[in-house]
């Protein structure tokens, strides 16, 4: 197990030949993402994401904890990715694999280390208590491009999540229930996303959002983490065939264009959901009033 079934020679050669003719198996152009579907669960910060057949669920949660001794002003933020046999029969339950560590590395670099979530704003009382934010990534179906899909899902979750309000009163931390005070959105400093490129045919063909079969047929990959403002926060050329340096520059602008488009899609999904919630909340309020 632990490894996806290898491609047959026919599949590999066909994928390569098709790319030489600028065709992909699902009829996309090289720079086209698969259709992205974002929906939300009942709780804040619960995101269901589908990118083609790749499907991910992200849940964000918060709890009050003690900050680390060396950083008394900072809250905690962790991204948890554990692959299970649900996402692909090639993954064994409870055994970490290569995909898991490489995707975690990109998520940490693009989102955590670029400080997309302002951890200082999570501090409640210096050195005593702070919020610990946790993002759990569940991969429920894997068909390539896990990295980008997980990045989109975690960033959407962070923007959607609302934590309970907490204040310090007489040196005591008081956490208000969701019914008592309107929960607070997290402080997002910028919105970076990753875009993963795969190279084929001596890097003559480079595509985004590869499916699993395309990933398996590829010769090399390039990951770029960039935000709407065009600021890069991550770049990695893990392994595989060489890519011309000039190509990397042009790919960066492709990545920027993609990230702008993806962020716009996230915004649209968020606004639609928040409007729905507001409507539902209003309906509930009036019902409560009627009851009284």
């Amino acid at each position: 197990m632990s490894k996806e079934a290898p491609l047959s020679i026919a599949e590999r050669e066909f994928i390569l030949e098709a790319l030489r003719q600028d065709s992909r198996l699902d009829g996309r152009t090289p720079d086209q993402f698969r259709p992205l579907k974002i929906s939300f669960g009942d709780e804040y910060g619960h995101v269901n994401l589908e990118l083609g057949n790749t499907s991910i669920i992200v849940r964000i949660s918060a709890e009050v904890t003690k900050p680390r001794d060396e950083r008394p002003f900072d809250g905690l933020f962790n991204i948890n990715l554990e692959l299970s046999a649900m996402g692909s029969p090639a993954w064994e339950n409870g055994r970490p694999n290569d995909v898991e560590s490489s995707v975690t590395h990109v998520l940490d670099s693009v989102i955590r280390h670029s400080n997309a979530l302002d951890t200082e704003s999570l501090c409640i009382l210096k050195g005593v208590s702070c919020w610990s934010i946790r993002a759990d990534v569940h991969v429920v179906a894997y068909d390539g491009n896990l990295t980008d899909a997980a990045c989109i899902a975690v960033m959407t979750g962070l923007q959607h999540f609302r934590r309970p309000d907490a204040v310090v009163r007489d040196g005591q931390v008081v956490v208000y229930g969701v019914e008592e005070r309107v929960p607070v959105a997290l402080n997002i400093t910028h919105k970076p996303l990753s875009v993963t490129f795969f190279a084929f045919n001596e890097s003559k063909n480079i595509i985004v959002d590869a499916t699993l079969k395309e990933e398996q047929a590829s010769e090399g990959e390039l990951v770029i983490g960039i935000n709407n403002g065009g600021e890069m926060c991550f770049m990695n050329k893990f392994s595989g065939a060489t890519i011309n340096a000039r190509e990397i520059v042009t790919r960066t602008s492709v990545a920027l264009e993609k990230v702008k488009d993806l962020n716009a899609q996230i915004d649209r999904a968020m606004q639609a959901d928040l409007a729905l919630r507001a409507k539902r909340g209003m309906a509930e309020e009036s019902r409560a009033e009627n009851d009284r």
């Binding site: 197990m1 849940r59 649900m86 569940h138 179906a141």
Partner: protein
Amino acid sequence: MVGPTASLSNLSRADGSASFKCPTTGYKILGSVNAPVELPGRRDALKPEEATVEVFIKPGNTTAGVGERYVEGIIRTMLQKLILGRERGFPRRGVVITLAIVGGGAIARGDSYLTLLPSLLHTSLLALLSGAVPMSMTYSTALVAVSKSNVIISNPTLVEAKAASSLHVLAFSSKGHLLLNESQGRFDFDTWKTVQQCAHALCRGVDLPEVDGDIAMEAQGDSGTAEGFVRETVENHLYRDYAWKIDTE
């Protein structure tokens, strides 16, 4: 009362899958089954003549701990008896069941897992059916609480379960056997007996004589029971999958 909701075969990579949402506890479970598959590195643990059943529970927003391992054990023991691991293609292979808690609150360390157990069991069953894993029979399960004032609450909410003096999860096979009983808290045997009747009614409908008026039993047809729900879900899905065949006949 709003009934549970479920859907089948909703994941693309797994051989069988199902999602199940319990309205009273708010839990939503996603389950997948891969079977029969090789289990490498566990050759010694495999039984020579049968399939090996593996259950893995993935909590929604915490790391799995002892609680999950304990419940995995309960589910595995029960399913091992129902899965026909000697059918063609299954001996020496694995039946890997993965259950992810994708909706509902987190279970804090030390909290009871019993409130979640029925949802987990129903999800496992539906996923196994969707993966066409051979089984000798199906089952249905129910959660019953007994409050401090000795009132029996069927399908309790999380608040009611927390306040209860005892909690019980029972599972009945489609042939009427009692397959599983997990109880916790203080109760006497007479209470358990009523609990058992209440659970039986929830799972399979009333065919036991009512003993005393203490049990609030609603009139239930076949569709209101947990067993009826499983059957309906499977039927609806199969009718949709085979619409091409049914329409032409």
